[in-house]
Subunit: 188 residues, 2 copies
DNA sequence: TTGTATTTTCACGAATGTGTGAAAACTGTA
DNA sequence: TACAGTTTTCACACATTCGTGAAAATACAA
């Protein structure tokens, strides 16, 4: 760990520190950071040595990172060991992360809400609770579906959308106007 | 806790279970859930009784929820106790959450990346690492700025944008075409 | 198949996080 | 100021998570 070059070291340390806030542990964060900045795939021993973790710890960390689809397993010719690398395209990474987060952190709640919404509340309190759940469901469902849709766009298109920022409103207003004009034309 | 009406109970339990995935603990999750579905503001004692938590635990949980801006403190006339309620507008809640998450989970990383990007790499490995950090920075910075922008739009506009889903691409393509036509006109 | 390199599992100690009751601190009223 | 209601802090016990080395399982070459 201390033998890492300064920028890499800084990056790896930061991911270790932030790990807990992101819901992964220090080890996993550092392993990912190291793989992310590495110019070539790494095997578990290299990681264990660079980070001064036990081999078993690295094994567990890599399993976890694979479950998040943040690292890809790669086999090098003439080498039996397993090598890992991070996808090169950061948009790809972003997508995997978002998708996995939704699956783990959002979907279960959506299911619970859906189940609760088809029940018939047995009293005043539950009737109100159900109304609140309805509001929550609407919001989560809309954002979730939207994210799903947008994810399918090319990175280039997403980039274009994002760079518009809040001026997307103007575009939206414009298209709405066009639609109304269109409708008027048809109906008149 | 067991005296809560069934739908409320289900909701509260779920938030307790999901808590760990969301980076809050069971207690905090349940307290929030209870406040969210409650038709009226609640005080700490009511929460402690309903959830069968110790009074001190509720106090700590409420502090945490306030720090996330998920509950609002409210004083009821003629009552010295502090009452808490969740903002009624779910979009408002969503915004607070997103903002707070960015502040805690994204900003520190952006700072670190910015700092690393102005350094001069001392060797090949760090040169490559810096390139990767550059890519990561670009992505996070763009998304972060975009989120900031969009957050300022009215819930209604955001809703409109989201309901468009991936067909936003068509709109984007259209406006691009308009711009090109416009430019041609000017230049010709 | 055997043998060896490699990965995974597991039990354990260490570290961290959680929830409690009691005590301290605070707040507003008289 | 005194004091009663309310909130917060704190030390402690308990639970959970983390990281390790050793042993077991797996994969593959000969």
């Amino acid at each position: 760990m201390n033998s890492l070059p300064p920028l890499t070291h800084q990056f790896v340390s930061h991911f270790g520190e932030m790990g807990s806030r992101w819901g992964i542990n220090r080890t996993v964060g550092q392993i990912y950071a190291l793989i992310f900045v590495s110019p070539k795939p790494l095997n578990a021993d290299e990681i264990a040595e660079a980070l001064e973790f036990s081999r078993s710890n690295v094994s567990i960390g890599l399993k976890e990172l694979q479950s998040w689809r943040l690292v890809k397993l790669k086999h090098l010719a003439g080498d039996r060991r397993e090598y890992f690398e991070a996808p090169q395209d950061v948009w790809e990474i972003f997508k995997s992360l978002a998708e996995e987060k939704r699956r783990r952190e959002v979907e279960p709640t959506l299911s619970m809400l859906r189940a609760a919404l088809v029940e018939t509340p047995g009293n005043e309190a539950d009737a109100h609770a159900q109304k609140r759940m309805q509001q929550m469901h609407e919001l989560i469902d809309l954002s979730s579906t939207w994210f799903d849709d947008v994810q399918r766009l090319s990175p280039e298109t997403i980039g274009r959308l994002m760079r518009m920022g809040s001026s997307i409103k103007t575009v939206l207003d414009m298209t709405d106007k066009l639609k109304i004009v269109g409708r008027k034309k048809v109906s008149s």
